[in-house]
């Protein structure tokens, strides 16, 4: 088990390094003189140029720049924003907000998606099933920001049940509406996944055996059908935390949530390389860790899988 975790962690290193190199190259390996661009129309002051070049290691070859960035990152120094704030501090302020938002979305979507998908699968072809299939297809096909605006208009502006924008106070209550919007698409996918595997499992041999030995419907459905249907859902949820945090770019923009998505969007528009690279690295780390967690959960859900 620990051996397996160690090996997986080693395998993840080239992925994380490669991803940072890729984004670093995209952001910093562009023609043009970034320092000259900072001065705009004014003549370049050579002393300031030298100090900026030293600060961002601009006089080094590209790969050395990247290695120096990595080295600093390992000590917790992710560079400075254009406003001379440490990137680690800016991200440290925004990250908990987005994490809270994404985890809320993850809980909402998985509880509702599994419940609706499970019930739809048990009643395949009935009214509830057909309704849920149509709802899930619509949710996937309509862009998420359309739902965002509609819900903001209905629940925020017209009914006044939720704040229209979140702003500085990112409490659970205020984040409720953005979390529902953020989790909508994944809710649809989880519903479809759960339904499909419930329908498949209902006719599986082990379920027939369980029924044949006289277990009640209730215990067959919960212990044999539902548990086995969770395997594809767990895979999906593992990859989803990262997707949700990236998808937060749209949701946080609509509801003005002071999180990573908002930060990333502004940094990309301003060309603030160090912030962009750090955020992407963070997302990749989350993805890598979550995939490992999913693999370990597999073994718990499906006893046939053992890691040595």
């Amino acid at each position: 088990m620990w051996w397996y975790i160690g090996r997986r962690a080693l395998q993840a290193i080239p992925v994380v390094l490669g991803a940072t190199l890729l984004i670093y190259a995209m952001v910093f390996l562009q023609p043009g003189d970034p320092i000259k661009a900072l001065f705009g129309e004014k003549p370049v002051n050579e002393t300031i140029r030298a100090s900026i070049a030293a600060q961002y290691n601009l006089d080094d070859p590209f790969l050395i720049q990247w290695l120096k960035y990595l080295g600093n990152a390992l000590t917790g120094d992710f560079g400075l924003t254009y406003a001379q704030q440490p990137v680690s501090q800016v991200i440290g302020d925004a990250f908990p907000v987005t994490l809270k938002l994404a985890v809320m979305a993850l809980i909402i979507e998985s509880v509702l998606g599994v419940a609706a998908g499970f019930y739809a699968g048990l009643r395949k072809g009935k009214l509830f099933d057909s309704t849920m299939l149509i709802v899930s297809l619509l949710v996937i096909a309509v862009p998420i920001f359309v739902f965002g605006f509609l819900m903001q208009l209905i629940f925020g502006v017209k009914l006044g049940w939720a704040p229209i924008t979140v702003g500085g106070d990112a409490s659970i209550k205020n984040l409720m509406l953005p979390a529902i919007v953020l989790g909508l698409v994944s809710f649809a996918y989880i519903l479809r996944l759960t339904r499909t595997s419930v329908v498949e499992n209902l006719t599986a041999d082990h379920v027939r055996t369980a029924r044949a030995k006289g277990l009640s419907d209730r215990s067959v459905n919960s212990r044999h059908v539902l548990r086995n249907s969770m395997i594809p859902v767990v895979t999906y949820l593992g990859a989803d935390l990262g997707t949700l945090m990236a998808g937060a770019i749209v949701t946080e923009g609509i509801f003005n949530v002071p999180g990573i998505g908002n930060l990333a969007f502004r940094a990309i528009n301003r060309g603030e390389g160090s912030t962009v690279v750090s955020i992407v690295t963070l997302m990749v780390l989350i993805y890598v860790v979550m995939s490992l967690v999913v693999d370990l959960l597999y073994a718990w859900l499906d006893p046939r899988i053992r890691y040595a």
């Binding site: 992925v15 984004i23 096909a141 359309v146 502006v157 498949e200 990236a246 998808g247 992407v280 997302m283």
Partner: protein, 325 residues
Amino acid sequence: MPETTPLPGQERFLAPLDETPLQETGALDTSSPPESQWKEAWKELRRNWLFWVSGAMILLVAVVVIAPGLFTNLDPSYADLSKSLDPGSSGHIAGYDKQGYDVFARMIYGARASVLVGVLTTILIVVVGLITGAVAGFYGGWVDSVISRIADIFFAIPLLLGALVGLSVINNLFPDRGEFGGIVAVVIALGVFGWPQITRITRGQVLQVKNMEFIDAARAIGATKRSNLLRHVIPNSLPPVIVTATVSLGILIVAEATLSFLGIGLPPGVVSWGNDINAAQNQIRSGQRIGVMFWPAGALAFTALGFILLGDAVSDALNPKRRTE
């Protein structure tokens, strides 16, 4: 055969021959080759109403893309500012947007850019994903390790975030890239972070197919490794790739709209659903005219739905276990 009465407990129950799946070998029709899985899938598909509905939806969108003039004789880039946010009159069923453009005409002409992005990106990711996935799965060894790790790197970066960074880079490098250049930029940005999904599916499928008996049979009758890969392994690995590609087409159209909504997708001059939805933000925020966003967003959802439903239908037809996912 003389009937003998068996001892109690030793009766043998034999099913009549016509109820068993066994047949005399002479009864098998070997005069024509068995139907290919594609022919069978096509037969299956024709029986599915979902296929006809989604096919009709996609056909309608295709006609709009090819001949927008059939649906409106208005100019999508003609604006009459005095009609700003006018709810519309006869001949203008969708009314006007903030700038005084005809919303319906823009919906019709906006199809081209949005669908083009979806189709071109899908072609790009399928070509790249199929080649890399097939090579990795078929040859294995260090080739597989290298391809899989590179795919992991691109897969680990969320599509939306990666595409945003990619587009901002392209914006810097080619600020004036025109309408088609703008479409190509979005295609590249989405494609660069989209191919690993197809690679992973293809690789997994090739790994399964290459160990099947008919591949051994082909090798036994003298097929070379390369012809085995091209003529047997790849065609038999295609079904899940086709399903994923069809569904991705719909999802990529939505992704393009999201990028345009964030103001970084297609250049502002291009008539596209994403740009129109982006422009309609303020009207829906202030509750002035929801219709301005309804038409382009509705057209977008209709198109995406068409491809997602088609993906479902194809998935049912190609998969004997009939799973819809």
